[in-house]
């Protein structure tokens, strides 16, 4: 796996709707810009070799960094794969939709649920929204949220941006009734 760049983003929200958010809401993202393992090979039927080469390594790289960047308990999480223009969306999906990738984050965050994801193809500087859900119960409505990310010069056409997102709480000023009240 060839990593060109690692990006860390943290957002702290102090007020929302004109009212204080206490404690401040924190969301962190860590992204690695890596070479697309299948770039330039035409249509590769069996993606296993590239998955074996990169999926676990990039998960292992990102998981501790995003937990550290958040600096608190991970209550919600999500993931992203943004493929450069000369790749397939399937290439990004191959790297993130495998337990080899996700279990690093699940273990680091004491999480049990599936990681919500965004997969997308775009040019360098494309914006993408990473969805996050609660780490042990994906039906907890207060924790459904997303964070917008943009790397100014990635992905290049032959690269993939792989990212993890973590939040230490639900949405600022969350006040929707629980799912159970509608059942």
């Amino acid at each position: 796996m060839n990593v060109r760049k690692i990006v860390t983003l943290t957002e702290e929200t102090l007020t929302e709707g004109g009212r204080p958010v206490e404690p401040n809401a924190r969301v962190a993202v860590v992204a690695a810009v890596i070479d697309n393992p299948w770039h330039g090979q035409g249509f590769v039927e069996d993606l296993t070799a590239g998955i074996d080469e990169a999926a676990s390594k990039v998960g292992e790289l990102l998981a501790p960094r995003v937990v550290k960047a958040l600096g608190g308990t991970v209550e919600a999480y999500g993931k992203a794969a943004i493929v450069g223009l000369e790749g397939e969306i399937e290439h990004g999906s191959a790297l993130i939709h495998t337990l080899k990738f996700g279990d690093h984050f699940r273990n680091a965050a004491n999480a049990t649920t599936l990681l919500p994801a965004v997969e997308k193809r775009g040019p360098a500087g494309v914006t993408f929204d990473i969805p996050l859900k609660h780490v042990t119960d994906a039906t907890i409505r207060s924790h459904h949220q997303s964070i917008e990310v943009r790397l100014a010069d990635a992905p290049h056409p032959g690269e993939i941006v792989i990212a993890l997102a973590a939040a230490s709480q639900g949405r600022p000023q969350q006040r929707l009734a629980p799912l159970a009240t509608e059942q």
Partner: protein, 210 residues
Amino acid sequence: MTSSTDPAASGGQAGLRKIVYYQEEVLQENGAVASAPVFRATAAAVIANPWIGTPPETDLAPASKMIAPVVARLLTDRLIAGLGGAERIEAFGKAAIVGTSGEIEHAGAMIHTPYFGNLVREFLEGTSIICFADDRAGAGEALVVPMWHKNQASTRSHYQTITARISDGPRPDEIVVVAAASTGPRPHARIGDRSTDPAVTSRILEGATA
């Protein structure tokens, strides 16, 4: 109820809504490992524009004096924590984006006075004048922030930029204030310096064709 544009209404003295820290570690450039690992970062604060609705003759100094030092401290604290100490920071820069209900002069008032610049320089332990960018724009506009060496501004290896962007700021009545720093030069910096430059004048164009 107080207006959300009142700096005292929420987010404390500076009317802070959000703080965004963005850091890049470049491991490779053009297929080769960078000569030294360099970290670049921006810290950005989304604050209420304290001058919304005020006429152009308004004295901007009182609000600058109240708000800019708080923001300077807050942003440099994050840069220092993220980059591993002021002593590791070699280059710096600053920027502001004012929302569309404000004047570009409001952006300048947040970053171009000693209430911001002197404090950023002091906290990051530099001596140079700080280079800058400013803009008036809608939320989500990307702004390229220039940086140069914090002690010798003409050090060419340290001319570099980083892009700052807040997805939902500035709103029309907000200002995004940015401080930027880098722990080293560009990857593979190799365009010489004033000490190595030949003397170049327009005579170099004699006989040249386009």
